[in-house]
């Protein structure tokens, strides 16, 4: 198998590209973690906005979640990336600071986070609605502050309902990081493409990248299963089916 041993040497040899791939993997995980956390934050605010705040705020979140879920992520990323940097620079020029170059990592996290936020909003809204109304009313009757109510009652009670959706969202987040390769961020997919382009061992390198992504997915599914078991403790919610 000369092809196979040659490919292995390109990946793992002293002058191999394995280091670049691992660097890309690190960037991918960083972006996914950042975007997912930002998405959760937006999702919590969005779910409360849709459920409890009507009027302009509620309508804004309805428009946001509908548009983000109807337009391909790739186009959203391009739009948010160009429009975001453009608007920021115009604002900075207007205030007299001059142009800045946006940090690639920050822009990627922000853009993917906004996309994730729309899906998180829907997952969390459904989960909050699944909490028996009496529990939240009981909390209110005890005179809890809304934030205390959120921390002590709503969040823990909705968690088992939210874990399947949130778990799937995490898996989507890790896979959606590849879209940033199209905009030119160096994460795992782009590093792989560059390595493959230089060495011409396309099949070997894309297989290796696929294996790395698959490893993230498998480890994530195991972890989500553990988190699900922990979140369901003491409840009669059914076991999550992730993926």
């Amino acid at each position: 198998m000369p092809y196979f041993s040659h490919a292995l040497d390109l990946l793992l040899g002293d002058t191999g590209w394995g280091r670049n791939l691992l660097f890309g993997l690190l960037r991918t995980i960083e972006i996914a973690l950042g975007a997912y956390s930002l998405g959760l934050l937006i999702g919590l605010v969005g779910a409360y906005g849709k459920l409890y705040v009507g009027g302009a705020v509620g309508n804004f979140f309805i428009l946001y979640t509908t548009l983000v879920r109807a337009v391909p992520e790739l186009i959203l990323i391009l739009m948010l990336y160009y429009a975001g940097t453009d608007l920021l620079n115009q604002f900075l020029i207007w205030t007299g600071y001059g142009r800045v170059d946006i940090n690639g990592l920050a822009a990627g996290v922000l853009v993917l986070g906004l996309v994730q936020g729309a899906y998180s909003t829907e997952v969390l809204r459904g989960a909050i609605q699944a909490v028996p109304q009496g529990q939240i009313e009981a909390g209110r009757a005890y005179g809890m502050h809304p934030l205390l109510l959120l921390r002590r009652i709503t969040l823990p009670a909705m968690l088992p309902h939210a874990i399947p959706g949130l778990g799937n969202l995490w898996l989507t987040a890790t896979k959606d990081t590849t879209l940033l390769a199209v905009v030119g961020f160096s994460e795992l997919a782009l590093e792989t493409r560059q390595a493959a382009g230089v060495t011409k061992a396309y099949f070997a390198f894309f297989s290796a990248a696929g294996a790395l992504y698959y490893a993230i997915s498998i480890l994530s599914i195991l972890a989500i299963g553990k988190i699900d078991r922990w979140a369901r403790r003491g409840t009669d919610v059914q076991k999550a089916r992730v993926q």
């Binding site: 992520e73 429009a83 997919a189 396309y202 099949f203 698959y214």
Partner: protein, 268 residues
């Protein structure tokens, strides 16, 4: 979606829209008017043909990959749901790998990876297949089809196993053989149940089609990229292409609503 909403709808009095809805409609109209007046649209006539060509390509990719992917998904789902271990284990592995890796990597593996293996088989160049192997479109269709099959097999597996066993036993008791029972009972029941999910999956599939632009297929997104490169306009082509995808999504949802309303909703 309210489960009884559809059946009650004709008897309900039409409500006038609330002021929130009116203000939302007004805001959207205002944005459209602003976009028409403050952005530049003089490129539209010269690129309309390119967009139409791209739109045709996107819809073709979506239709072919969804139909072929679903046709592939049904036997895989059956293999997982009721096959012996020798068949179900590879089918499960296929689903897991397809769903556990990003579509972009699958697409690039199929296009660049397979392409880079061809020099190992020089005799391929003389076959009748070679002209097709040099195009990007077949690779895009193959990658999209395989991807759709992986996701849909999981959906159909769930649908097949959720069909009440009594229905199948009744079919056998009526003297249907396995094939007839599948065609008349098992598959229709599973398909009705999976239809709302399949709609969502079709929209997701639509949203992964623009990635084929990275392997030089000229779809509607690639058309907008070309406008961006040639006219140096950032927002206008992206807004047009986003509107196109929203319209296709709306059409998919509309068609599937029509389809769902034709099906009996209360089965068993």
């Amino acid at each position: 979606m309210n489960p009884i909403g559809n059946s009650l709808a004709p008897f309900q009095r039409r409500r006038p829209i609330s002021w929130q809805q009116a203000s939302a409609v007004f805001a959207v109209l205002l944005l459209v008017v602003l976009a028409v007046f403050f952005l530049r649209w003089e490129w539209v006539p010269s690129y309309a043909g390119l967009f139409a060509q791209g739109l045709y390509c996107t819809i073709l990719l979506l239709a072919v990959s969804c139909v072929a992917g679903f046709a592939l998904a049904v036997p895989i789902a059956l293999a997982i749901a009721s096959g012996p271990l020798l068949v179900s284990a590879p089918a499960k592995a296929f689903c897991s790998v397809i769903r556990g890796t990003p579509f972009l990597i699958q697409l690039w593996l199929v296009y660049y990876g397979l392409g880079s293996l061809f020099p190992l088989f020089p005799e391929l160049r003389t076959t009748a297949l070679w002209p097709y192997l040099r195009e990007a479109m077949p690779y895009a269709i193959i990658a999209l089809t395989i991807n759709f099959a992986g996701y849909e097999a999981e959906v159909m597996r769930g649908a097949f196993t959720s069909v009440d066993r009594g229905q199948l036993e009744a079919a056998r008791a009526f003297g249907m053989n396995r094939r007839t029972a599948f065609r008349r009972i098992w598959f229709p029941l599973a398909f009705y149940r999976a239809l709302p999910t399949l709609t969502g999956e079709t929209v997701l599939q639509l949203k992964s089609t623009p990635l084929v632009a990275t392997i030089s297929v000229l779809d509607v997104f690639a058309a907008s990229s070309r406008v961006r490169q040639e006219t140096y306009l950032t927002y206008e082509p992206l807004l047009v292409v986003a509107a196109v995808y929203v319209c296709i999504t709306g059409a998919i949802v509309f068609i599937s609503r029509k389809l769902e309303s034709r099906l009996p909703t209360r089965i068993g």
